[in-house]
Symmetry: C2
Subunit: 195 residues, 2 copies
Amino acid sequence: MTTPEENKLIYYVKKWVNITKDDESAILSAFEQASIRKKKDLLVPGEICKYNYFIIKGCIRTYYIDDKGVEHIYHIRFDNNWVGDLESFFSQKPSKYYIEALEDTQYIRISKDRLDQLYDEVPAFDRYFRILFQKAYVNTLKRLNANMWEPAIDRYKDMLKEHPDMFQRVPLTYIASYLGITPESLSRIRKKNNQ
Amino acid sequence: MTTPEENKLIYYVKKWVNITKDDESAILSAFEQASIRKKKDLLVPGEICKYNYFIIKGCIRTYYIDDKGVEHIYHIRFDNNWVGDLESFFSQKPSKYYIEALEDTQYIRISKDRLDQLYDEVPAFDRYFRILFQKAYVNTLKRLNANMWEPAIDRYKDMLKEHPDMFQRVPLTYIASYLGITPESLSRIRKKNNQ
DNA sequence: AACTTCACTTGACATAGGTCAATTTTATTT
DNA sequence: AAATAAAATTGACCTATGTCAAGTGAAGTT
């Protein structure tokens, strides 16, 4: 009944909260499984973000395009991570973002209504997301701090250390945007770092 | 039994989740009320952040001091907001931050153990914090975006618009740090903005 | 009221990183 | 394999913001 794909979510939920067998099946039945091909969009600006996505395997980026036509990347996420435009998802108002697959990607997804239902059915799931958001918030504060007060080369070295896989799987242009610099600057930083 | 101070918290909790009268008293009994004078610290680096604080009235900043001795301000918060070093609070490991009163401040506080208890007693409180962290996360992403991709003058104008009170209550030096610039730059930006 | 400290402003100069344009390298498509 | 497109590099130059130092003003303290 439960595929290995879905069980990956259960595995990660159990890392943080206790759930019963009943909870497990309630959770699993709330998700749909799907996949998307490289370069295709899960969401484009103007659309409402109807789902919250959990990546089983693959790579997803979220970004927006500013007035001058420049892309700015918020997130690049791999296996076993959540993605979505939370703001649009929770308000059910149109999004400003693109959510795009950078690799062929398998995911599971849950709609807002279904998630709200699930929160009522399985209070532990409320707690799971409380913990998840808490961690996401702390991490984003750290990223903010690094972007405000650390030079780009330190942010680059940090990423090399924390996410070496990123450089295998994602073009440098995207990594540059995620780090808050231009591709040219990243190129120069890498050159300096290799000498 | 319940003072007006404590009821402010209940008022804000009720904005987001439904709670019973029993829940209300469970919540209220979990908090202690206290106050702190201007320029005094709720937390200094090396200490564990034992409490999460809800400001009833006053102003609190959180900041750290870098290797070069420069202060960097994360948050400046007024009445009806939460403050604390979440990372230290949840891990119960030593903090890197100062949490300091910028005005004489009344607050209520809750310890980690008591909060964990409360989450079990009142599942709605879990949900309340889920929603709170979710919002904090989205807001921090916006702040990150602004700091990465918008010029300082836009961030300044934004603050003028969204938090005009800030300029009444907080020295410009602190506002500059919060905006991610030096006091000198803020001074020049303000000059330019007035002409 | 005088003293001291802190907050703010201004100027001269420095620098990290951005911009634009050309070139090379790598990947994708036919 | 050739053709095309996309990604990455490099150089010359620019700009926003930082740094350091001096000066003025405002606020808190004795």
